[in-house]
Assembly symmetry: C2
Homo-oligomer: 360 residues x 2
């Protein structure tokens, strides 16, 4: 039995969001680490299906009917038949922090054979600052036994608040369909004992499988887009969110970390199905990356909401030419913010950042 | 006895540069890995002192008299009584690659207890491309068992030529004097099994203790500045070079990697002596970092030499206001390039980059 701290960190300040179409037997393995936390389960697909949750977990569950009832016409911004629906969970949460995990992710072991408490590591990542303005060669300078190395400016050592903690995966790596097809047997066996801040101005491919964030400071930008049923694209929900949050974190002076913790990703999804979902994304991303790399936000965008609305305008103006889909997506981004503010009436004010993290 | 490949990689294309003031007994431990390579030893301090080199190594040794004789008045650009003098070795080498190591660095062991062939790992880093334009969350995508993850644009997967490989240190971390004083007992025991590209636009603190580079594509920018005897500053030689090479690599579309290999750094230098050497640097770096972060080079700077001369002009114009030292340093940067071109008459042409790595 793995040990767990007697008082779990942030017990009353964090929700675990799980999108699923099946019984949540995978939670059994996570019991020592998740049991004390509240779960928000977003049921995808057929709402008449009954999802079984193991005994003893504290949870609320939303299916498509619930989403439609709660959001009314604004429910159009929440994807259907795609794990992108998970972002509805971010919206209905009332907590400061979110951890989201896929139901095919299990507890990984560290090199000593000990079960990894992924959630605890994410919380450590979120509660310690980030260092986006200068690279530290010994990785996370806030970690025990580490520090800033010679040549690191002292004025930058306080760091900035951490908005996002991006965890990794052992076993099945998060490859796109073409790479899956070319390397069907490749497994990630390398445990890299590091957490690092992704530098300002650098985009990264954010995977939603094992992800935590500070909902209060970045939540409204954590929209997973329009994917799946009725949409020309899938498997770009987390990527889209990652590009948006990175641009906004860079603008607001917030940090994004990647590295530890690892989870055990149990099975590869079907590469042929994935290829169908992804192929427009693979093509479009060649235009999306330069768009996000050059996106800048005006100084008066001082809240996440304002940043996100501004970004939606730029998406419509610049990516609308790539495909009509992006016009629809830009509109959905606005709907998402409207729905967020409706469910979180005090949020618009509270996401105004303190001086320490002012817009740069 | 550690095993070594029967045919060492790049045997006739790489020089090992070692700055020293003492007998090179430390080479005994490196014998299995260095024995087949040519060494360039730059003797610092009193030129009448005899430096003993263990039997069987192939080397050339330069003391201050040699440097003065070879460079004449241009010898003024080479530091004295400071390990910055090592860059003279880069200049007199005729090889494509350089590895430089301090004489208090020993062979480290990987987590399985095996001796790490640091040079072999550096060579692997230099011979595989870099990926500076987008972050790969599974670290070096060119490493065996790894690849680019989902969401990584295919157009960027070819990467760019790698100019620099920055290795790390187990045991004594490379801290500045204030951190040494505050944490005298801190040791780096964490073996992070990763190599990564430092993203474009991000500066890093480059340490010269365990460093390799492609002399042909970045050598003329690898100048370690004016430090030590007669100068107001020390211990910023490698930092200065790191900031300069990063700006130039970003401009020319070249890659800089950090991470593996580790060496074992045996003993901490005296923090009180270091504080005296560093204190102006600690103060000045607060102005140096913004300077290098905003430095841009014009499009017609298509060779490393042109980039470096242009950078020297910007140093004089912008940092000259910070202290007169930077006016002297800017002049020394020009002298360095003149001396480089004199000793490497064909270099100016050969460093003109192929189309694949054109100025961006």
């Amino acid at each position: 039995m793995a040990s767990t701290p007697s008082l779990p960190l942030l017990k009353d300040e964090l929700d675990i969001v799980i999108p699923t179409i099946r019984n949540l037997d995978f939670l059994e393995m996570w019991r020592p680490f998740f049991e004390k936390y509240h779960l928000i389960i977003v049921q995808d697909g057929d709402p008449t299906k009954v999802i079984k949750v193991p005994e003893g977990f504290d949870y609320e569950l939303y299916n498509r009917n619930d989403i439609n009832r709660i959001l009314g016409p604004k429910a159009s911004c929440i994807s259907f038949k795609d794990s992108a629906c998970r972002c509805f969970g971010y919206m209905v949460s009332k907590k400061k922090y979110i951890y989201t995990i896929d139901d095919d992710c299990f507890v990984a072991k560290d090199p000593t054979g000990k079960d990894i408490n992924a959630l605890e590591q994410h919380i450590k990542n979120l509660l310690s600052p980030s260092s986006p303005f200068f690279f530290n060669t010994l990785y996370d300078p806030y970690r025990e036994g580490a520090d800033f190395v010679r040549g690191y400016p002292f004025s930058l050592r306080e760091g900035v608040p951490t908005a996002v903690s991006h965890g990794l995966w052992l076993n099945i790596p998060d490859y796109d369909a073409p790479t899956q097809l070319v390397k069907p047997l490749e497994r990630n066996t390398r445990y890299v004992d590091a957490v690092m801040t992704i530098p300002k101005g650098t985009l990264f491919p954010m995977c939603g499988m094992n992800l935590a964030f500070n909902r209060e400071i970045i939540g409204p930008a954590m929209y997973f887009g329009l994917m799946g049923d009725g949409q020309p694209i899938g498997r770009y929900d987390d990527m889209w969110a990652g590009w948006c949050i990175k641009v906004i974190c860079d603008h607001l002076g917030l940090g994004v970390k990647t590295g530890l913790p690892y989870i055990w990703h149990s099975k590869a999804s079907n590469p042929f199905v994935n290829l169908k979902k992804e192929y427009k994304g693979i093509y479009w991303q060649e235009e999306l990356i330069p768009f996000f790399q050059s996106a800048t936000l005006p100084k008066d965008c001082t809240t996440v909401q304002k940043c996100y609305i501004e970004l939606s305008k730029q998406v419509k103006a610049k990516l609308g030419k790539v495909d009509d889909y992006f016009i629809k997506l830009a509109d959905a981004m606005v709907t998402w913010i409207e729905a967020w503010d409706e469910l979180n009436p005090s949020a618009e004010k509270s996401t105004e950042l303190p001086n320490g993290a002012a817009a740069k």
